[in-house]
């Protein structure tokens, strides 16, 4: 059945902020349309309007020529529109199969037919066979899954509704290369089955690989719609981020600099995931950590910071430490930017000011010298260019990239010497990423050592002085600047994992 979805001039305001002012998008059967745009440009809002999660304030939604308006996601599902959401819609205390078939359980009389439900789930899981751990079964609880596995379950849940129109909102952001490839082969299959696919991603390479057509959003407006073969990456990026164009070529630039003496030496670091990790960090060094997701990269950062249990020694400036609490490592000027900024990095409802000052209140005496605090917060926010209406606005009013800057800013207030970054640019738009890279380089130049884990291989290659490739809880390859290329990095993380990917767990 041929499907044709058009959204015209959609408008949506959230508490005075215009999320969408002129959102237009067309999706056709047998075609992949990519929706791209900087963070806060309204991609997710547009998708949520199409799927009935939020109601539009104005504009028109047409399916096969007839006006539609959904007040609930179920109505969209019934019309054959399914979405894989960016903020996952899974219930942690239920199993994989219960989640996938929630509200659509196969029934036997008034009871759920569990066997049938499990069989159907297994069939779906087989689509991603060999790219996930074998421990992922229909009866596994969602709370036991790693982020990439959750994302896959989320995708399978959308597939299970057999939609005509499928929306993938940042579905690849937590998947590793092989999982992305599997997803892409599935997408090509759906295309042949005459489904329409709306694909949202920050990764340009993926967009060009899979999309037939590309629609660009900027500040809630649709500013371009191209055949993907007729357009260059640079043109698209300049459309997405008007003013930051001139910075973009510098992403892959190499920096040569003099590194200082070794400040941090980690020996035989072991946690549940890590099996003996040894490395050194020099003063002013930007050390990258790479590898497929969930192989223990976060554990390295968390153990160095003392936020999880571990064994091994951390040698810092001539002394051995084993931090048992984050306050101990903070005292030695360590700082961690956690992976999930909404959950671990920020108090979303509190103001930017309160968030920036959270780890440093003790410096302001009793009673608190709020005037000085305000001044310091303002200096920090200006130095890292947080785009905001005021320090007193809640963090939840900021876009993803700016919120991440607040997380970094709150640690910069304390003048850290070791900065640990856990995938800080995930879900951050291109323009902010660029500013972010500049900031990191600047920090290194002032003598701060940075440990930088990223799921984006390109930025590791572009930024780092040295990269450690982790697999199965061990450092398998160390790539110095001279050998650091995208292909060498991907080869190191992928080929190695091919052999041993099931050895974890």
């Amino acid at each position: 059945m041929s499907q044709y979805l058009t959204s015209n001039d959609i408008v949506k305001h959230f508490a005075g902020v215009t999320a969408l002012s002129n959102g237009s998008l067309t999706a056709k059967s047998g075609e992949v349309v990519a929706l791209i745009g900087a963070n806060g440009s309204g991609k997710s809002t547009l998708c949520k309007i199409i799927t009935g999660v939020v109601a539009p304030d104005d504009g028109q939604l047409l399916l096969n020529g007839t006006t539609i308006s959904f007040s609930h996601p179920v109505e969209a599902l019934k019309s054959g529109i399914a979405a894989v959401y960016q903020d996952l819609s899974l219930i942690p205390s239920l199993t994989v199969s219960q989640n996938i078939w929630l509200t659509r359980e196969p029934m036997k009389g008034i009871f759920v037919n569990h066997r049938e439900q499990r069989q159907r789930t297994q069939k779906l899981l087989d689509l991603f066979a060999d790219t996930v751990r074998p421990s992922l079964t229909p009866n596994t609880l969602i709370s036991e899954l790693s982020p990439d596995e959750r994302q896959i379950v989320e995708i399978l849940k959308a597939i299970s509704t057999e939609p005509h129109i499928m929306i993938l909102d940042e579905a690849t952001s937590s998947l590793d290369n092989r999982q992305v490839e599997r997803l892409f082969s599935l997408i090509s299959k759906w295309k042949k089955q005459d489904k329409a696919i709306i694909f949202i991603s920050h990764r340009m390479a993926e967009v060009f690989k899979i999309a037939d057509r590309i629609t660009v959003l900027r500040n809630g407006k649709t500013v371009g719609d191209f055949e993907s073969k007729m357009v260059k990456e640079k043109e698209l990026i300049s459309l997405m981020v008007e003013n930051t164009k001139e910075h973009l070529e510098k992403v892959g630039e190499t920096i040569s600099k003099q590194l200082g003496e070794t400040v941090l030496r980690v020996t035989d670091l072991r946690t549940q995931r890590l099996q003996g990790v040894n490395f050194e960090v020099k003063k002013g060094e930007l050390l990258g950590i790479a590898g497929l997701q969930g192989h223990g990269q976060s554990d390295i950062l968390n153990s160095v910071f003392g936020s999880i249990h571990f064994s091994g020694t951390i040698h810092f400036e001539g002394k051995n430490y084993q931090f048992k609490h984050t306050s101990e490592s903070m005292e030695k000027d360590f700082a961690l930017v956690p992976g999930d900024r909404a959950k671990e990095g920020l108090l979303m409802r509190s103001s930017i000011f309160e968030n920036l000052l959270l780890p440093s209140w003790m410096k302001y005496g009793f009673p608190l010298n709020t005037r000085k605090a305000k001044k310091d917060a303002l200096t920090t926010s200006q130095s890292i260019k947080i785009v905001m209406t005021g320090l007193n606005m809640p963090v939840s009013s900021l876009s993803g990239g700016n919120a991440q800057k607040v997380v970094i800013g709150k640690w910069l207030q304390r003048k850290p010497r070791i900065l640990l970054l856990n995938d800080p640019t995930k879900g951050v738009d291109v323009g902010t990423k660029k500013e972010f890279y500049d900031l990191l380089k600047e920090l290194c130049n002032t003598g701060i050592s940075i440990l930088f884990y990223s799921s984006d291989d390109e930025e590791l290659v572009g930024l780092c002085d040295r990269v450690l490739v982790i697999r199965d809880g061990k450092i398998r390859t160390e790539l110095p600047k001279s050998k650091l290329t995208l292909s060498s990095l991907i080869t190191a993380s992928v080929t190695s994992s091919e052999v041993h990917v099931h050895a974890t767990n």
Partner: protein, 328 residues
């Protein structure tokens, strides 16, 4: 060794140990008071009597557990039962027929559901936090109960009370049958679409909504279900006591929450069942029996039983803390 350590960290271990100690002590104490009867007869008598005393709170705790699993809370459930109980004992007279009994009881169920719906509508539709809503309605309910039954008293049909007291189907006390059927009913409910959605909402309300679960409606129904079960609790109560007191449910609300937690169900929603609360109530009840037997001053009784419960709930965490200190 490690396995034993891990095992000791689990909450249910302490709850179970406490349960076994409590049930044994309790039976020993009560047993000797019963005179020179045959063992099996004395045992059955004790089981029967104890269970019939526990059934009202067991029902309330199951209602509470269902609401908690759904991610809500019902602080009015005790007084809701109080209203229905007051209604029952004022409608009945000593020599009512069976037909009259059922007629009134069906109305009582309707009343329970209605009061539950009131909670549900405020919580789900008007979106006042459940903690506040049900705290407020608990006072509304106690007001209604006092209006129906200004002072303790009332009647129950003799036929029904004597039936409830003396019948032991297949030789087992009525309480056992009620508990078993409650477990089966929960198992059935959990395997319906409604049951799956009830748990899903408690697990993550927003995710359930985006998955197409009619969250608002289901939560109202969950509170109505609590009211429905509350009506049965009222019946079990007045069958046991023969009369009622408008304030009788006031202290049972918190007991129901404690029983659920004691049974291992967290208050955060999304997980749990009815077996835990049932054991929770029995532990609570037996602890109180023992404290009563030990001739503790009445005003000290609640202190002692609260301490025992607190210690059993905190034990796993204490052990972990001590463990950590030792390793340091």
């Amino acid at each position: 060794m490690q396995q034993i350590k891990n095992f000791l960290k689990k909450t249910f271990v302490f709850a179970t140990v406490l349960f076994i100690i409590v049930i044994l002590t309790n039976f020993l104490l009560q047993y000797t008071n019963l005179g020179p009867e045959k063992f099996s007869k004395r045992f059955m008598f004790l089981l029967d009597n104890n269970l019939r005393g526990f059934i009202p709170l067991i029902l309330l705790s199951i209602a509470q557990a269902i609401v908690l699993i759904n991610g809500s809370i019902d602080l009015s459930i005790g007084n809701l039962m109080g209203v229905v109980a007051a209604f029952l004992v004022t409608q009945y007279s000593q020599d009512d027929s069976i037909a009259r009994f059922f007629q009134v009881f069906i109305m009582a169920i309707g009343l329970g559901i209605l009061l539950g719906a009131l909670n549900g509508i405020f919580v789900s539709l008007v979106r006042i936090p459940p903690f506040i809503t049900t705290y407020a309605t608990s006072y509304v309910f106690i007001g209604i109960a006092m209006w129906i039954l200004p002072r303790p008293g009332g009647n129950m049909p003799k036929i029904v009370t004597s039936f409830y007291k003396s019948t032991r189907p297949l030789g087992l006390p009525m309480g056992v049958w009620i508990i078993v059927s409650l477990m089966i009913l929960w198992l059935l409910l959990r395997n319906t679409r409604f049951g799956a959605q009830l748990i899903a909402i408690g697990g993550n309300e927003k995710a359930a909504f985006t998955s197409g679960v009619p969250v608002t409606r289901q939560r109202i129904i969950v509170h109505m279900l609590a009211g429905f079960i509350g009506a049965f609790a009222a019946l079990a109560l007045v069958l046991f006591t023969g009369s009622s007191d408008p304030r009788i449910g006031a202290t049972m609300t918190l007991d129901s929450v404690v029983a659920v937690v004691l049974g291992g169900t967290p208050m955060s929603g999304g997980i749990g069942g009815v077996v835990g609360p049932i054991f929770g109530v029995m532990t609570l009840g037996f602890v109180r029996n023992i404290v009563g037997f030990a001739n503790v001053n009445t005003w000290l009784q609640s202190l002692v039983d609260a301490l025992i419960i607190l210690i059993s709930l905190a034990s796993p965490s204490f052990i972990q803390l001590i463990h950590k200190q030792v390793r340091k």
